[in-house]
């Protein structure tokens, strides 16, 4: 018995050590990014490097926003990603509902075809699209990026919504429809409030995808005033020298909205879940 208990204790001990090690590995590059963004150049390039800035400063952040143009890039990213996410979530909600509850021509084959596109290599789409966008005059526009981001996030978003709708009991809408609601009204008034956790999950997925996208933006957008954050960051990388402090400050600026989004959605997720469960 004692041996067995010590075995349990030992495995808990090992699990704790693994958790601590993984946490340190996960945290360190992020920590180093923040630390590097808060040093003056003489300290940043000192040998050996200091683990904590001796003379912490936000001077690189000021530079990123003024000289680096990161205020502009941030607005561009928010605009493109925000619109693409909104459109994608709406289309995925409607489409997901149709696949879960209604009779869509093509049905299951179409649904699996949609999922298959999720695995397609972006480069095979980018090459012909470059010509299409060129002939339509969409090179150097945010519209081109919105179109691409909406479409690329749809397959996964539709599946998420559909799977969530399938879990909801069909009696929910039936009750509302017996009470005289049309199906659309039942969807709007009854189903959507219950689907908030799935909508939140789709929202996160679409937003993160757009926020991170580099290849299409880098190819389609050449004008500096239209750059999104990933393009702005990459532009700091010089051929011979790189202002690493500026780059790390820009990196922190690009990461903060993601962290804000996650903390925000997490509370909404819980709220949405409980509200849906009690009232449903």
């Amino acid at each position: 018995m004692a041996a067995r208990r010590s075995l349990g204790r030992r495995s808990t001990g090992i699990a704790t050590i693994v958790c601590v090690l993984l946490s340190i590995c996960a945290l360190f590059p992020f920590f180093w990014m923040v630390v590097s963004s808060m040093k003056y150049d003489d300290e940043l390039y000192r040998d050996p490097p200091t683990l904590i800035p001796q003379n912490p400063t936000l001077v690189k952040y000021g530079e990123a926003l003024s000289r680096g143009g990161f205020g502009r890039y941030m607005l561009n990213s928010l605009f493109v990603t925000g619109i693409a996410t909104a459109v994608s979530v709406v289309l995925a909600t409607l489409g997901g509902y149709a696949f879960a509850r209604l009779d869509v021509p093509g049905g299951k084959a179409l649904l699996f075809g949609i999922l298959l596109t999720y695995t397609f290599p972006g480069i095979l789409i980018l090459i012909p699209f470059y010509f299409v966008f060129r002939s339509l005059g969409l090179i150097d526009t945010h519209l081109a990026l919105v179109i691409v981001y909406v479409t690329f996030t749809l397959p996964y978003a539709i599946w998420t919504m559909r799977n969530y709708f399938l879990q909801l009991p069909e009696s929910v809408e039936e009750c509302a429809m017996v009470d005289g609601c049309t199906r659309m009204r039942a969807l709007w008034k009854v189903i959507l409030p219950m689907a908030r956790p799935a909508i939140a999950a789709c929202f996160i997925y679409c937003f993160v995808s757009g926020w991170n996208e580099f290849m299409f933006a880098n190819t389609i957008v050449t004008k500096e005033s239209l750059r999104t954050l990933p393009i702005g960051l990459n532009a700091i990388m010089g051929e011979f020298t790189t202002d690493w402090g500026l780059l790390m400050a820009g990196s922190v600026i690009s990461t903060v909205p993601m962290m804000a989004l996650f903390s925000l959605i997490q509370t909404n997720l819980v709220e949405g879940l409980s509200a849906g469960a009690v009232k449903g």
């Binding site: 349990g8 209604l102 596109t117 695995t119 789409i125 090459i127 580099f214």
Partner: protein, 301 residues
């Protein structure tokens, strides 16, 4: 009777009508932005579309494919894609299982560890690649500074510029970024396993290894399969990690098919050849795509 039938018929028709119109915008979007370019891209691989050498996009049969299979850099890119993918998937799955099992245990402060382990997932992929590039920097990077101090290397190493170390370095950065997703997927599958099952196994004298191979892995094996296929697809498609750290260099040592196709298209402007490389990539990914669909279909049943 007739009334009810009429009503049901009407309901069916309205369900079809509404179903079509609700799904239509999404499907239209995907038909125009995914299906059409894919067909066009495959068609382009049979043309001599080349903006530098005056190729006008006329049909040239299998010329691009013939040129491709004679191109030593293409063959190198195939080999690199295999190494890159196998290394990434094997390491992420192994570490992911270890991480998920540890996070599912009784360690104190689970919530804190779970949050910290998610950090790489929240960091944008461009930020991750450029931060690792800074850490791997030859003259001022923390990796060299730490290893020199520990006496593990005698002189600074140009991790991303050396033909021997570039691939391991980009794999390390990409594992860092990809691990949280795998861990969370596996952890979500582990959580419903009742604790009593582990207790019963422990009373029967099962050790850690037996518990892992007899209970944990069999229960989550479908999730392991899905995570493996998804990680494979993501890794083959992971342009950002390689392009932003090495651009496929040094001397094509980290060039994968994806980055090579991009380079041929947008730096050499040989779109016909680039389209045929992309088509090969597409066929390769379709294999994994079909496995993925098969797994999802089994889940449906």
């Amino acid at each position: 009777m007739t009334g009810a039938r009429f009503q049901r018929l009407g309901e069916k028709r309205s369900s079809r009508f509404l179903g079509f119109w609700l799904a239509f915008p999404a499907i239209l979007c995907m038909a125009v932005v995914i299906a059409y370019p894919v067909i066009k891209g495959v068609a382009m691989s049979f043309t001599n579309m080349n903006l530098l050498r005056g190729g006008d996009g006329s049909f040239c049969g299998l010329a691009n494919y013939r040129a491709m299979f004679k191109d030593p850099y293409f063959l190198l890119a195939c080999r690199n894609t295999a190494i890159w993918t196998i290394a990434n998937v094997a390491i992420q799955m192994a570490l992911g299982i270890i991480a998920a099992v540890s996070l599912n245990g009784n360690a104190k402060g689970q919530g804190v560890y779970r949050t910290l382990i998610m950090i790489p997932w929240i960091v944008p992929s461009v930020v991750s690649a450029l931060t690792w590039r800074w850490m791997f920097d030859w003259s001022n990077g923390i990796v060299n500074a730490a290893l020199l101090k520990l006496g593990l290397i005698a002189a600074p190493v140009a991790w991303l510029g050396n033909t021997k170390t570039a691939m391991p370095a980009v794999v390390l950065a990409s594992v860092w970024k990809g691990l949280p997703f795998v861990t969370m997927m596996l952890l979500a599958a582990l959580q419903p396993i009742p604790k009593e099952l582990y207790e019963a196994a422990s009373i029967d004298g099962a050790g850690f290894w037996q518990t892992l191979t007899r209970i944990t892995i069999p229960v989550i094996k479908r999730t392991i399969a899905v995570a493996t296929v998804l990680t494979t697809i993501f890794t083959v498609n992971n342009f950002n990690a390689i392009w932003l750290m090495t651009q496929g260099g040094p001397l094509y040592r980290t060039e994968i098919l994806f980055t090579y196709a991009y380079k041929i298209a947008f730096q050499k402007f040989n779109f016909g050849l680039a389209a045929s490389i992309s088509t090969v990539l597409f066929l390769l990914l379709s294999v994994f795509g079909v496995v993925y669909l098969y797994l999802m279909d089994k889940e449906e049943a």
